[in-house]
């Protein structure tokens, strides 16, 4: 060792003490941040931006900061629970969803198919068998009749596959340039399954987190179909009804099934964060156990996007009490199309409201919601 060795050692000891004080200060800063984050999000923007529609934190701000205070001010109603479907009366559930996707048709699906499955799935993950749908079409002047005809057929086919009828509807036409081809809004009514006890605030430490299949397929298919990347890959949307999966989970786990969510906008990351906040628990995810098809992880890699933040249209997350988790996973895997379902993590007491990932490389990190749409990196 050099002649300065002793001085260096004394310096290191001082450094260690300073390090502990510094870590304490860092911890205090982090606590302040978590307190701030636990508060209801505010809506302070002067105008609506695209980020408000992306399902991340900006959307959360819009909902919690503007819609809830006006529509469910004391939080006593159903809306404040922010469930996928709200209770109308007893076991009757109602949900609604608007669809504005570009392009209208993409590998594996189309706007019409999404409009049926999206609403059916919001009911399914609330534990409700779909009973009937309403359908509103907003059509742009000049839309080719063949395009409309194809979407109406897609709606009919998807509704038949989901065993639900369209029972009422509405049609509006707007001037050219005032809509992007067509927009579709559906509402759905369903009856809560007697086995279902699901709620967003029902997660308990020890619960296991199940995912119903490979993630990131739909969002990747859409991004590639827009043709902005000059990437060709065999990725198709995963849009399909999740009722069979929900039915199987309810059958296998019953009241041990704490909650289900379909991981649409914002992907798995948004769902886990919302539920961790709603239940006041932490969620721990094992990155290596999350099913992602190589073609999706490859595309996501090139774009610098996390597959866990990409939208799905046929993937649900289920939270199951530990004793019934294996049975629930086996039942899920037995449903056609869900053979790759997996257990990807568990609910912890700490840290409340946060999602942590054990990375495949052996490190650990926070998994937060995105603010807006996932953005490809620069270099």
């Amino acid at each position: 060792m050099s002649a300065t060795g002793r001085g260096e050692r004394a310096g290191a000891a001082r450094g260690e003490r300073a390090g502990v004080a510094r870590a304490d200060r860092e911890q205090r800063v982090l606590s302040i941040i978590e307190t701030a984050r636990a508060k209801r999000a505010k809506f302070r923007d002067e105008r609506v931006t695209m980020a408000h529609g992306a399902g991340g934190k900006a959307t959360q701000g819009l909902i919690e900061g503007l819609l809830l205070p006006a529509l469910d001010p004391d939080g006593a109603g159903t809306l404040a629970q922010l469930a996928d479907a709200g209770t109308v009366d007893g076991d009757l559930l109602l949900t609604t969803d608007a669809f504005v996707v570009t392009p209208l048709r993409f590998p594996g699906g189309s706007i019409g198919e999404l409009a049926v499955n999206g609403t059916v799935n919001d009911l399914a993950v609330a534990g409700a068998r779909p009973l009937g749908l309403s359908l509103s079409l907003i059509l742009e002047e000049g839309l080719p009749a063949d395009v409309l005809r194809a979407e109406v057929e897609a709606i009919a086919t998807a509704a038949a596959a989901a065993e639900v009828a369209v029972v009422t509807g509405d049609t509006k036409v707007v001037e050219r340039g005032h809509a992007d081809g067509m927009y579709v809004t559906t509402a759905g009514v369903g009856r809560r399954d007697p086995r279902a006890r699901v709620a967003p605030d029902a997660l308990r430490p020890g619960d296991r987190v199940l995912v119903s299949g490979p993630v990131g397929e739909h969002g990747t298919a859409i991004m590639l179909a827009r043709g902005e990347f000059d990437l060709d890959a065999d990725v198709t949307s995963d849009t399909h009804s999740l009722w069979p999966a929900a039915d199987a989970l309810l059958g296998a786990a019953g009241s041990a099934l704490r909650c289900m969510r379909d991981a649409t906008r914002g992907g798995v990351a948004s769902v886990l964060n919302e539920l961790a906040r709603a239940s006041g628990v932490g969620v721990s995810v094992r990155e290596a156990d999350v099913p992602v098809r190589p073609v999706v992880s490859g595309a996501a890699e090139i774009l610098g996007i996390d597959p866990l933040s990409i939208a799905n249209e046929g993937v649900l997350l289920a939270f199951v009490a530990p004793g019934q988790a294996d049975a629930a996973l086996a039942a899920l895997r037995a449903v056609p199309g869900h053979e790759q379902a997996a257990e990807i993590g568990e609910v912890r007491a700490e840290p409340p409201g946060m999602v942590l990932v054990d990375t495949a490389f052996g490190g650990r990190r926070v998994m937060d919601q995105l603010v807006g749409d996932p953005l490809p990196r620069i270099c």
Partner: protein
């Protein structure tokens, strides 16, 4: 994924972590700066900190393209975006960088035609398709992205596309490093060198760091094993008393760089006498503008811009973060007034920014370290 998974192997990671532990002097504290924002992002995303010995500290450097853009330049961009008939294009991260009166995303919501592109060539394609509109590309980045802007301009010139222009904010990596090394409040033991920039400029431009300033440099790839191995190579140099530029990223980085890329940059760009960096102030010979041969494509000449220097917000300490003087959480507004949802400083915007990476990925890793103490 072939050629990627190999560099994310957890088993190998543990082996390198073991070697790191065997290499460090437990009585010493090490501060290594990763220059590039891509490294910062990888370090937090993979939790690489968790695999480093406790006495090895990573300090985040200035190599994040979005982070170094000063507010005045954003204001100039927004002013051009509001010009009638203009289609303003930029990379996605740039949309959310605050100027003195909001962001480009806000300008878009107010009616400006602002579009995100993934490459300057996309902007040129828009210009080709809409000849009656003025299409402007807001170019940012180090030598990594500058060649693609240069190639785009060469193509625009060859095709005679006259409704296309570029706001050039390209910068070079060596001047800020020199400025950092001259700064008295900096105590670093070595540099994890910028991999992507080096694919263009090579390893040679970094020789001055060991030669003049006595600090070792290891040019590093971006996968977690790359970063860990580079840290190991730096610590071995320190242990052995060596001080040189080593190239961990030899699978991509040639010592002399990419001659073709350097040639097109030389044709299209010239050095500005000085350029303002966010938080770092004016650094001489650090920014690029379009050469006289390409002056017709220079948006700063085509449009009237305020061109006003705007001081960084008082509360914002991006400059200290970019210099590695403070950690993101030590900034007064970190995580409270300044968040990814409402960034005050640029470091909170880009996923490569130290503050955003720490906020999004690292808020907990540190806490666990403390619990272990």
């Amino acid at each position: 994924m072939r050629f990627v998974d190999e560099f994310r192997d957890a088993e190998l990671g543990r082996v390198v972590a073991g070697e790191l532990l065997a290499t460090v002097d437990p009585a010493r504290h090490y501060k290594l700066m990763e220059v590039c924002g891509g490294h910062t992002h990888a370090i937090y995303k993979y939790g690489i900190d968790d695999l480093l010995p406790d006495n090895v500290e990573l300090v985040h450097g200035p190599g994040c393209p979005v982070c170094v853009i000063p507010m005045g330049r954003v204001d100039d961009g927004i002013a051009i975006a509001h010009e009638p008939g203009v289609i303003f294009t930029c990379f996605g991260d740039m949309l959310r960088v605050p100027g003195s009166h909001g962001t480009l995303l806000d300008a878009k919501a107010q009616g400006a035609d602002v579009r995100m592109v993934y490459s300057p060539l996309d902007a040129l394609r828009i210009a080709r398709e809409q000849p009656d509109r003025q299409v402007v590309f807001f170019a940012i980045g180090f030598e990594t992205t500058a060649p693609s802007t240069a190639l785009t301009l060469m193509r625009a010139k060859a095709e005679g596309i006259d409704n296309f222009s570029v706001v050039c904010n390209h910068v070079t990596i060596v001047p800020p490093l020199r400025a950092l090394l001259e700064s008295p409040d900096l105590r670093l033991d070595g540099f994890i060198g910028p991999g992507h920039v080096s694919t263009v400029v090579g390893a040679r431009p970094f020789q001055f760091i060991p030669e003049r300033y006595g600090k070792p440099v290891v040019i590093s790839g971006f996968e977690p094993l790359d970063v860990l191995q580079s840290a190991l190579m730096l610590l071995r140099q320190l242990r052995d008393g060596r001080c040189e530029v080593e190239n961990q990223y030899a699978r991509v980085v040639p010592y002399d760089g990419n001659a073709a890329a350097l040639r097109v940059m030389g044709e299209v760009f010239v050095l500005r006498p000085h350029f303002e960096w966010r938080g770092l102030g004016f650094i001489s010979q650090s920014g690029l503008r379009l050469s006289d041969a390409y002056a017709d494509f220079d948006a700063e000449l085509r449009f009237a811009t305020p061109g006003v220097r705007v001081a960084d917000p008082k509360a914002c300490q991006c400059g200290e973060v970019l210099k590695g003087v403070i950690k993101p959480w030590e900034c007064k507004v970190f995580g409270t007034a300044c968040t990814p949802e409402r960034p005050i400083g640029t470091c909170m915007v880009s996923s490569e920014g130290a503050c955003a990476a720490y906020y999004n990925f690292g808020r907990f890793a540190r806490r666990r370290e403390r619990e272990a103490v």
